[in-house]
Symmetry: C2
Subunit: 438 residues, 2 copies
Amino acid sequence: MKAIHVGLCGVGTVGGGTAAVLKRNAEEIARRAGRPIVIKIAASRDLERARTVCGPDIEVVADVMTVADHPDVDIVVELIGGTTIAKDLVLRAIENGKHVVTANKKLIAEYGNEIFARAQEKGVMVSFEAAVAGGIPVIKALREGLTANRIEWIAGIINGTSNFILTEMRDKGMSFAAALADAQRLGYAEADPTFDIEGHDAAHKLTIMSAIAFGIPVQFEKAYLEGISKLDALDIKYASELGYRIKLLGVTRRRENGIELRVAPTLIPHKRLIANVDGVMNAVLVKGDAVGATLYYGPGAGAEPTASAVIADLVDVTRLATADPENRVPHLAFQPSAIANLPILPIDDVETCYYLRMDANDKPGVLADVTRILAEANISVDSMLQKPAAEQVDGRADIIILTHLAVERHVNEALARIEALDSITGHVVKLRLEHLHG
Amino acid sequence: MKAIHVGLCGVGTVGGGTAAVLKRNAEEIARRAGRPIVIKIAASRDLERARTVCGPDIEVVADVMTVADHPDVDIVVELIGGTTIAKDLVLRAIENGKHVVTANKKLIAEYGNEIFARAQEKGVMVSFEAAVAGGIPVIKALREGLTANRIEWIAGIINGTSNFILTEMRDKGMSFAAALADAQRLGYAEADPTFDIEGHDAAHKLTIMSAIAFGIPVQFEKAYLEGISKLDALDIKYASELGYRIKLLGVTRRRENGIELRVAPTLIPHKRLIANVDGVMNAVLVKGDAVGATLYYGPGAGAEPTASAVIADLVDVTRLATADPENRVPHLAFQPSAIANLPILPIDDVETCYYLRMDANDKPGVLADVTRILAEANISVDSMLQKPAAEQVDGRADIIILTHLAVERHVNEALARIEALDSITGHVVKLRLEHLHG
């Protein structure tokens, strides 16, 4: 049967991995797809590297648009990243009637609506399994494996860098700064780690999952982001004593009046399987009304894990290319005409449980004041822990409170009142807590 | 767009769940599939129950063949179980050019080759996501999500009954008999639990996963089965002291000269995520050469979790129905012409690590005898534990040995020699041990 011709744009880490796996497993892939899937042409600014990666038989060019315009290319693979050239490339490929496979989470999370609309008009597919959680086929699970379900929520550990840092902080009692330095030394964090540790990367991935879970447009600009750089090792310790782990967790939840979409350091009961996902690994927990909770775990980054997802998309596109376009898997899981306009809720309207830590005078009446303020804000206390202050200041104590479900706005109002108490020093630490019941 | 008409055969637990979810989530499902998926006719020996389950608008018949022959039925859903009527029904539906969705693991594991060959000839699809691990979309992950990979091995906790019993035995220090009684009281085990506790059910599922992972025919008759009914609580305790959990684990592994296919109680390091899958939950760990290890976790049984998988198949069939049959996902993941005839290895040729426990005289020289015999059989010792005999017989000790990789035949030969020693009483307990390195 006729081979499928791929145009590979970008031969960095993932591009190199994709070329390597397509070559090494050529026979295995053809046994599945029913035809060979081969790279016809590759584009890179670094022609020498491209030639080394692709071998002598593949045409190599400097301009990605040459690939988008190449008459023999069936599928354009976009692995250059960013949202400038990558966006132009993807739109040009679509205009030329070519299918696209991309690993670019930023592009999809920020420009997905425009790209999918254009692809729909031209009758081509844009696949992006590699954009979320690397090698874990979680886009497939959400779009195809759980189609029977009304999805209720998704909770994901979807940034390996942050998870590595948090694992080091807990296992070795390290500070954030020391754990970050470790991660950088080991190549798990960039020299400028902002994108990973402040939640941008996780929010891109979460935005995509949220759209395909609930049938809404991608709306990255409305996601709430809170990173781990201000996380105190002390809170990891207290959380642990209370039976919780702290993870940088992406949570998107369907509520009656809209969708929650937030990335933040979050307590999870240590008994949950997802609380035990450590190091650079990723995991996504999905709650559907019929199936209950299912979890998808694996490597969220790296050359060959990401290549695995890129190539799975190539095989899928190969298969679905002959299907009536109206019967293909919709880009956002739901038919374009059935996309809902449920709003993304502002963080003030989010409802979850909270971990609160405050530095208090160790005097009678303080707890009474604090709990009275919480009660007046309609926030009920799940459990409480009082400890001599970690800094060992005489007459001071750390008070840790876990709340039941409460609305963020009410919590903030109560915290302002608590912080105004004479007996409380400085800011109250506020972290979110998710029970993640199956 | 025209609705897809389903003929539902069997309205027991899963059939009832399927009808309920199709109705409750009708809108959500149609938003995804692009058209309604509705039950046109249902068949059951219990007409009254069928009418209650399906409501007044759906035709109900006693004879499943009426459904297979019904001109308005697009997809026949087989949920009656067994391999007699179910097999006839599925083959008849295929002859009639209808697609089939089934949750019947026994039927697929034992007659899949014949069924898929006939479906291929007639150009129809037979889908079976619900046959393995209930609501977890692991068939989809293996057939479509990991197509880039040469699969190296799969390890699965795929029988909820057994996993519940083993969890009770460990958590509460119970005997097998007591834990089984608990499981029966809670409805997790049948009155005759043989099928679950002796590994048949797990082996059916493992056989199916093995076929689609390696591109071989289903060969249930060659699977090795060892159940948990003879498992001693003492070994769970010793395993725990050594840092392992015992799970009824299905393992299928590609070796140079064939495929391992075995279900047995198996030690797993407790640090592995899959070792922490407890109660009735299921999980499948898959090792691919590109992606590394990915894990799929969720409810492996139950009305709505299984219905979730059945309905996902209905949506898939709806989508792929218009694709060129040569481009559909092949039944066994690989093109029929590319199915390999790698043999299933006999258990004697399996290579794994072992846990050995023996009842020994607590005298000098015993350990020397035992370790000499192991060395002569080329079995190297990973670690060893000696304890005063659990039964507290004076002068006797329990010796526990964990081995490195060894071939089962060599282990059996060594054990025969060890059991013949005067200083060893009774049989040596032999369990397999898998490190499951990612």
